[in-house]
Symmetry: C2
Subunit: 442 residues, 2 copies
């Protein structure tokens, strides 16, 4: 006998979780489609070259890579962004731009497992490709707001930054060459604290103390390393004004862009969901403009549940067509964990509304007919296949969380009057017609 | 530059196909839930031992198998039945039986590609586990009928057989030992023809000519090798009666079971969708009772679009608990190909109802506000990010298949009266309120 088990870092999704997961996905999809996004799918397996670029690189160790039977060097996708870049390059001539797509699918990473991290997890990406318009940035932010609101997980903040702002400052300080390194260090501020960021900037990257102090001051980082208090008490537009005077007219374009976005969010009366946070830079180098992360109040430790940003050229690896865009991803599994912890998820192990008891095996044909009539009327209905003690049948209804049970013996079937009980309320109604039961169930 | 391409046997699913695929899946899910089935998910990767059994075996060459970074011998799932067996064994104590689950997910097989066969394809499985009740067989058959009807692909027949019937005959002929071989040969009848089945039974398996003739006569196989005409003109109950007299009382139990199923289908007034076909045996050895396949009229060549059967013990490899059950799977990709061929799929590359034109970049804030109001009212709405020629904007609406466009300049925005045009009908309505537009759109 083989021991039934899943691989480390992998897990089954049982019905009670799957029902919630599908519910969340359905809500997201409705929102995506409200904004004109359409679904695509791409293969789980691709040429390694496509996923990793010619060289391979750092992600290399994390990915599931092997040779297929034809000797091809292939790998399982580790995100949905690289396949999107390949997809858009390959189908460039068939697509209408701006191309708005969403893609909800599992990805695989062989990285070390830790709490809440799995080797197989769902990504829920949405991107607008082929435009540099700030209006598309606003739409992405608006979708994030709608998406998180649909979850009912309480207060949250969408932290927004524009990487170009800090880059402008670094240009002013003549530090643009070290920009990628500096941004990656700053991105760690909520993990390692402001003091360690200071140390790393000075000791490791070799920035002067004066410049480092100015950078951290510019970022409004007080040392408390708490996203909640750092910026929120300051008016966004005041900060941006101060940036304009620090950077000077010639370097202020990214500030003006950012200001425009926040102004429209204000006009849309949704500014309250957003905050400006110049310390958020997103580690990834390919972001070139606005970036964002979403945190749930008092659960900063849970990490961002939705993040993304703008990139200038997604498809450089595969195509001469430069395709700018903006994208974001909901962290579906993280959201699920959060909801489980918050006990928002009520265990729902049935979607069935009515259970028809079996009082007599000879009536099975009638139970089938009755069930099929209820189903035709939109009522999810189950029957019990074999006669058993009434108490067992009630127990089954409770175990399966089915709210209504119907019982009918020979007489009831003949007269087409049935007995129904609302298990939750304990209310029983006797000898009523099919139509009256429908009214109760609906 | 890397050439953007997919692997042989793999393909992208663009929005127009994905929309239909999701629609089909949604319909199936609604039906599954009407019967009390719940969704589960299992990992794409499992221990090879779990998927292949201790030895490995024939499927071996077809599957994607490799070592992970920890040196584990792992593989990608090649169906959803083996993972189900593992899942049920592992979670046996947490589940309520009969356990009805559905699972819609991709599987991978490295087999040779041919028309309509891919190395990555979706399976859409539904099973009832933990019961031998014929009532569960009836429910599975009824779901198949509902599922196929929801597709609107025209006339179809659900061919049903019970492997035990032929096995009873073989017992009578003292041929039970060769039963698996014989059934596998008979299963090929519509591919290789009755003559070749005869030859194979006699020459390869070594059945006597007399027995072979009796078997083929029993199966009512006339040699035309056409499922459509072979059985349909005969009354199912007449055939079953004749079987009872051939097999004798002691061997007729499977015939009586089959008769019971067809009787209930008749009572449910859905018998017209079904046919009895004793030549359908399903190649797979693990089926032990009722088996079925679904063919679309005049498109037998397309193969079965839904099939399955009853098994006595799904979990033998992983558990001492014997778990009987019945399961079926819709062939999602085959169904999609069929619909594409039948031109049932209208190319739908948008789910957007309204496109708001951009007459003035300075009005972008107003366009955002308007779009968000429409979305709040359930209307999928897009805006155009940048001003461009009106003719280009109309072209975009047509290209994206968006039925309505709204145009509003400064005056219209100020007076809150907008112009709307139904592109399909060419009808334009000028200067009407938001509420009146809603009425038109709904």
């Amino acid at each position: 006998m083989i021991e039934p088990r899943t691989l480390k870092g992998f897990r089954d999704t049982p019905p009670e979780t799957m029902i919630i997961k599908k519910e969340i996905i359905k809500n997201f999809e409705i929102i995506f489609e409200k904004y004109g996004f359409l679904p695509i799918d791409t293969p789980a397996l691709e040429y390694s070259e496509i996923l990793l670029g010619k060289g391979g690189g750092e992600t290399d160790k994390q990915i599931y890579r092997f040779n297929d039977h034809g000797g091809r060097d292939i790998a399982m996708r580790f995100d949905l962004t690289v396949p999107l870049a390949r997809f858009v390059s390959q189908h460039f001539n068939e697509l209408t731009f701006p191309f708005k797509r969403y893609h909800i699918a599992p990805v695989w990473r062989g990285e070390n497992t830790q709490k809440g991290r799995y080797r197989e997890f769902y990504q829920c990406d949405f991107d607008i490709l082929g435009t540099k318009s700030l209006e598309s940035d606003i739409e992405i932010l608006s979708i994030i707001k709608d998406g998180i609101l649909s979850l009912n997980i309480g207060n949250f903040t969408i932290y927004v930054n524009n990487r170009k702002i800090l880059n402008s400052l670094l240009t002013k300080f003549d530090l643009s060459e070290k920009s990628a390194q500096i941004l990656r260090t700053i991105d760690k501020i909520y993990k390692i604290g402001a003091d360690n960021v200071y140390k790393e900037l000075v000791d490791v990257i070799g920035i002067s103390k004066k410049n480092t102090e100015d950078i951290l001051k510019f970022l409004n980082i007080t040392g408390s390393a708490d996203k909640d208090t750092a910026v929120e008490n300051t008016d966004i537009f005041d900060i941006l004004d101060s940036y304009k005077s620090i950077l000077g007219k010639e370097n202020s374009d990214p500030v003006i862009d950012t200001e425009y976005i926040f102004k429209i969010l204000k006009k849309l009366e949704i500014l309250k969901y957003f905050s400006f946070n110049p310390a958020i830079t997103r580690g990834l180098d390919y972001y070139t403009g606005i970036v964002f992360e979403v945190y749930v109040k008092d659960r900063m430790d849970f990490g961002s549940i939705c993040s993304g940003g703008r990139y200038d050229n997604l498809t450089g690896l595969y195509s001469k067509n430069e395709i700018p865009g903006i994208g974001a991803a909901f962290g579906l599994d993280r959201i699920l964990s959060l909801m489980e912890e918050q006990k928002i998820i009520k265990i729902q192990n049935s979607k069935t509304r009515l259970l028809i008891f079996n009082l007599d095996d000879d009536l099975n044909d009638e139970y089938h007919i009755l069930a099929s009539k209820f189903r035709e009327n939109g009522i999810n209905t189950e029957i019990i296949y074999e006669k058993q003690k009434i108490s067992s049948q009630f127990k089954l209804a409770e175990k399966k969380n089915i709210p209504f049970v119907l019982f009918a013996g020979n007489e009831e079937i003949k007269n087409k009057k049935y007995n129904i009980k609302n298990i939750l309320k304990g209310e029983e109604t006797k000898l009523i017609t099919f139509e009256d039961i429908l009214k109760i169930l609906k």
